[in-house]
């Protein structure tokens, strides 16, 4: 099956043979300690078993980990990290392995700490609208657990059936509905984390107003480079009284884009606004027969939620806007089954592209919403000039593009041509004041683009934070930043115990 995101380049990480042997010996020396901590069954050393963890959702970057451990408690994670820190062995945390930027790409010379056995929903506080969960709990499992209380967990990445909350914290995951509800960082109010030297510390206290620096906000979205979350306090949201999903079909993209702008400027804030172009629709039809209106050059999916009367009026307003902008067919879903019918095409879009192309790259970039029409035109030009087909699926409400760059990996040079178009799309995003990633993260995949978006002073300053948490650079090294900063000794006037030792003193209760 080649229908996968193949986003590799010639420069993708490959382990070096000789170095691997030396590293292998150092790692093997840790095995008895790891077995003491986790038990024999949860320490994997067999090469065949290790190979199953060689990549996350981005399959073009692969590397078999030196060792895999599967802890079940926070204390075990702390002990594992402490062992790594003492031995100066790098470690990488992994949840469900659905990330799309190689953020959980293992290291041959390192330990992979898999949180999939930490799956307890520890507590639910209905009135405070909080739940306390372990990092391996899946995103959807949180919402299922709190549904009886009339609550849900708002961030809903497309992979929510399998992706873990710990991974969501690392990536600051969003989802289709983050237009209205925000991202993981807006819905997590406390984290118990293992710091890179193996201490258990709480960041945030569940209230959303903890004193001191906002370490919680800084940690979320740090892609596993500042520590490993072992307990997560999530904020829960009242299930809306009503939800309506509209599907509007347009002959071309232009009017669809105009409708998006008109909806936003009318003062309505939908839960989600999604858009697909003709090629993406064709792929979805081929894969799941979603039966979108015939002849659509663009479909717009608008979801409205909230108090029932508000939703009813907003639905009418959105319908009127779409008609005015030239929608030739509008469907409305009022129950779960009808909603699913509309969302099926959209949610299957990535995988569906496999039906119309042997291979493809999933890109993730952001532009200001008002720049969408121009950027889409430029993408079409890029595609026409290079002969590389691009299917567009995107979160139109927040300008988050997911162009699917199609190629045939059997044709020599096709992948390189696709890579070039994919990279040019990121350049477009940057030149329009946007971002190189809206939700997939930088990881191992996009660190080379960071200097295009940020200056040396920006990257240096970001890495000061890294140095404060992880001066030894052992925690998921090689991700986000193209050039690691040497932390060195702080030329400070103060000479105190190691800061993290002090942290331990403060935080051990």
């Amino acid at each position: 099956m080649t229908a996968q995101a193949t986003r590799g380049t010639a420069g993708a990480p490959r382990q070096m043979e000789g170095a691997a042997e030396v590293a292998g010996a150092a790692i093997n020396a840790l095995v008895p300690q790891m077995i003491d901590i986790c038990g024999r069954r949860d320490v994997l050393t067999d090469p065949a078993e290790l190979a199953t963890y060689e990549c996350d959702g981005l399959t073009s970057h692969r590397c078999s980990p030196g060792l895999v451990v599967l802890p079940t408690t926070a204390e075990q994670v702390a002990a594992i990290v402490a062992v790594c820190a003492r031995a100066k062995i790098p470690f990488v945390a992994r949840g469900s392995g659905t990330g799309l930027s190689g953020g959980a790409l293992p290291r041959a010379d390192g330990v992979l700490i898999v949180t999939s056995k930490m799956r307890r929903v520890i507590a639910i506080d209905q009135e405070s609208r909080r739940a306390i969960v372990e990092p391996g709990v899946t995103n959807l499992a949180v919402s299922k657990a709190v549904e009886p209380f009339g609550l849900f967990y708002a961030p809903d990445p497309s992979s929510q059936v399998v992706c873990s909350i710990g991974g969501n914290v690392a990536e600051n995951s969003g989802g289709a509905h983050c237009l209205k509800n925000g991202f993981t960082v807006h819905h997590v109010t406390g984290l118990e984390v293992v710091t890179p030297d193996g201490e258990l510390v709480w960041l945030g206290d569940g209230t959303g107003a903890a004193p001191g620096y906002d370490l919680l906000g800084a940690f979320i979205g740090s892609e596993g480079t500042l520590g490993i979350a072992t307990k997560i306090i999530v904020k829960l949201t009242r299930i809306p009284e009503a939800v309506t999903t509209l599907l509007a079909a347009f002959r071309t993209m232009g009017p669809g884009g105009a409708a998006v702008s008109a909806i936003i400027s009318s003062g309505i804030l939908p839960a989600a606004i999604e858009m697909m172009d003709a090629l993406a629709i064709e792929a979805a039809e081929a894969a799941v027969a979603c039966r979108y209106p015939e002849g659509a050059g663009a479909v717009l999916i608008v979801e409205l939620d909230g108090p029932a009367d508000d939703v009813r009026r907003e639905t009418e307003a959105v319908r009127a806007i779409c008609e005015k902008e030239g929608a030739y067919e509008i469907r409305a879903a009022h129950d779960a089954a009808e909603r699913t019918a509309i969302w099926t095409g959209r949610k299957s879009a990535f995988a569906a592209v496999g039906r119309i192309s042997p291979a493809y790259i999933v890109q993730d970039g952001v532009v200001p919403r008002t720049a969408l029409p121009e950027v889409l035109d430029r993408i079409a030009e890029l595609s026409a000039a290079s002969g590389v087909r691009v299917a567009n699926v995107f979160h139109a409400g927040d300008g988050n593009l997911h162009p699917l760059v199609l190629f045939d990996d059997a044709v020599p040079g096709a992948e390189e041509a696709a890579e070039e178009v994919s990279g040019a799309i990121l350049d477009l995003c940057i030149s329009h004041g946007g971002s190189i990633t809206g939700e997939h993260g930088v990881g191992a995949d996009k660190s080379k683009y960071m200097p295009k978006m940020f200056g040396p002073g920006d990257l240096d300053t970001m890495q000061l934070l890294r140095c404060a948490f992880d001066p030894a650079g052992l925690c998921n090294p090689g991700k986000i930043f193209p050039t690691p900063r040497l932390c060195g000794e702080v030329p400070g006037v103060r000479r105190e115990p190691h800061p993290l030792v002090a942290a331990g003193k403060v935080d051990q209760f």
Partner: protein, 475 residues
């Protein structure tokens, strides 16, 4: 006079003057005030200060300058008020980019023209006339109007202690008001930030698109950092449409349990309240509960009717059938944003807790107050788990200290009632206090993660030149 200004500083910035008595920061008198006009000048000022070995404290309009511990050093005040430009208002993108010295009120006016707002409504401190407090040295402190142009220019001084503050100040203090329930605090709405580090390095993070996960989010780190990590010079924010209609449903609750029931019913309803506030000026009075509903006129009218029914009927037992029809008004009650949280003098304490603990926390406030023999005003964003207690200026420091200590033991100690909660599931932080109170009690109290915070400070400001000593743990 200008001859006393170090050359490096004068070269760095076109507007540097000697400090006057009105420039004191929480009672600590600076030597100079620099007013950079933009990023470049701000970077030059900090580079110069660094080379001169000068400690520096950022200042906006001064409305919250008295928050925190007085700095252990304050050679230079960096005044941001000349950095007062709205750099870019992309109305179609619901995004604005501003310089740090832009006033919240000034920004609100600009945004209102496009029917938009920055959904932050921190209480505007309303100073009372009277003798200055909180000073250990001569000269007026916060809460007083600055006397004339003391710094050799003919510009009027900043309106210390008044107004909603500047963007930079609101970010640096993390100040938020009733809208925090729905929209969060400054850290939730900031999408990009530009700062100048103590050594003059300029750094940006985030950007001007709402959805963006590239790089570390330094905006979160700087929000609520009290100027201790560097100077905030620019920021970009996500905006929201200005609601067409607003409605305030209010009722009185006899005691903590009734207040909790009303707050929980409103916040747990599907009626999407933008704020649920509580206020009680003095013990023995009922708790006033206020619910803000926003939206289009029709929707607000319908939801108001439903909220009145919900709160009045006792539909959510044990909600008090105190009032069959709680009154509603399109205008906020007098205490909205004007209760305890707005106290400009005396001691102001922010209490954070899990919302379900509201009744217990209100009981703890009363018990601690009774034991200390004081009667603080209490109020705040009850549904969001944030309350303020304001103690009058004349109350003896020992009594205030006892109150704070007892309150901390109750809200911060003993762990939560649920398994897995942090050992310290709440806090009571003194935001500002007279000098005698500051001497009697640690303003910050225990702060989990302090070791990591120290490590961050050491990385960003190794010589501890930025607002030294203002933050938790002496940072």
């Amino acid at each position: 006079m200008a001859g006393r200004i170090p050359e490096a500083l004068a070269d760095a910035c076109a507007d540097v003057s000697e400090a006057g008595p009105g420039d004191a920061v929480a009672g600590v008198a600076p030597r100079f005030v620099a007013r950079p006009a933009g990023v470049t000048e701000a970077a030059a000022v900090l580079a110069a200060a660094s080379s001169l070995g000068m400690t520096a404290v950022p200042r906006g309009s001064g409305s919250r300058l008295a928050w925190g511990v007085p700095p252990t050093g304050c050679d230079l005040v960096i005044d941001t008020l000349r950095m007062n430009k709205v750099l870019e208002h992309a109305a179609g993108d619901l995004v604005v980019r501003v310089q740090a010295g832009v006033g919240l009120d000034q920004l609100a006016n600009v945004l209102a023209e496009a029917g938009q707002r920055l959904a932050l409504d921190p209480p505007a401190a309303a100073p009372r006339p009277g003798p200055a407090h909180g000073t250990t040295r001569p000269g007026p402190a916060h809460g007083t109007t600055r006397p004339g142009p003391a710094h050799g220019t003919n510009r009027p001084g900043p309106p210390h202690g008044t107004g909603a503050g500047t963007i930079g100040g609101v970010l640096a203090t993390g100040a938020a008001g009733p809208l925090r329930l729905r929209y969060g605090t400054p850290r939730d709405l900031a999408i990009g930030i530009t700062v100048v580090r103590a050594d003059g390095t300029v750094a940006s993070a985030g950007g001007k698109v709402v959805k963006n996960v590239a790089g570390y989010d330094l905006g979160k780190l700087f929000a609520g950092s009290y100027g201790t990590l560097g100077l905030i010079v620019e920021a970009a924010f996500r905006l929201h449409p200005q609601p067409a209609a607003t409605s305030f449903v209010t009722l009185d609750a006899a005691g903590p349990d009734e207040a909790r029931a009303a707050v929980a019913a409103a916040a747990g309803s599907p009626l999407a309240p933008s704020a649920v506030e509580l206020d009680r000026p003095a013990r023995g009075q009922p708790f006033r509960v206020g619910v803000l509903l926003e939206g289009d006129a029709e929707g607000v009218a319908e939801r108001t009717a439903r909220m009145i029914e919900l709160l009045g009927s006792g539909a959510a037992p044990p909600c008090p059938p105190a009032q069959p029809d709680p009154p509603a008004s399109p205008f906020p009650p007098g205490w909205w944003r004007g209760g305890a949280a707005a106290a400009a003098d005396g001691t102001l304490i922010r209490v954070a807790f899990w919302a379900a603990e509201l009744a217990r926390v209100l009981g703890a406030v009363d018990a601690a107050a009774a034991a200390a023999g004081i009667d603080p005003a209490v109020g705040g964003s009850a549904a969001a788990g944030v309350l303020y207690a304001a103690v009058d200026e004349g109350v003896p420091a020992s009594a205030v200290a006892r109150f704070v200590t007892d309150l901390r033991a109750e809200v911060g100690g003993g762990g939560g009632s649920l398994p897995g909660t942090p050992p310290q599931p709440g806090s009571a932080v003194v935001l500002h206090a007279p000098a005698e109170v500051r001497a009697a009690v640690d303003l910050w109290g225990p702060v989990p993660g302090l070791g990591l915070m120290r490590a961050i400070k050491d990385q960003f400001d190794p010589q501890h030149m930025m607002a030294p000593g203002r933050f938790a743990g002496g940072i």
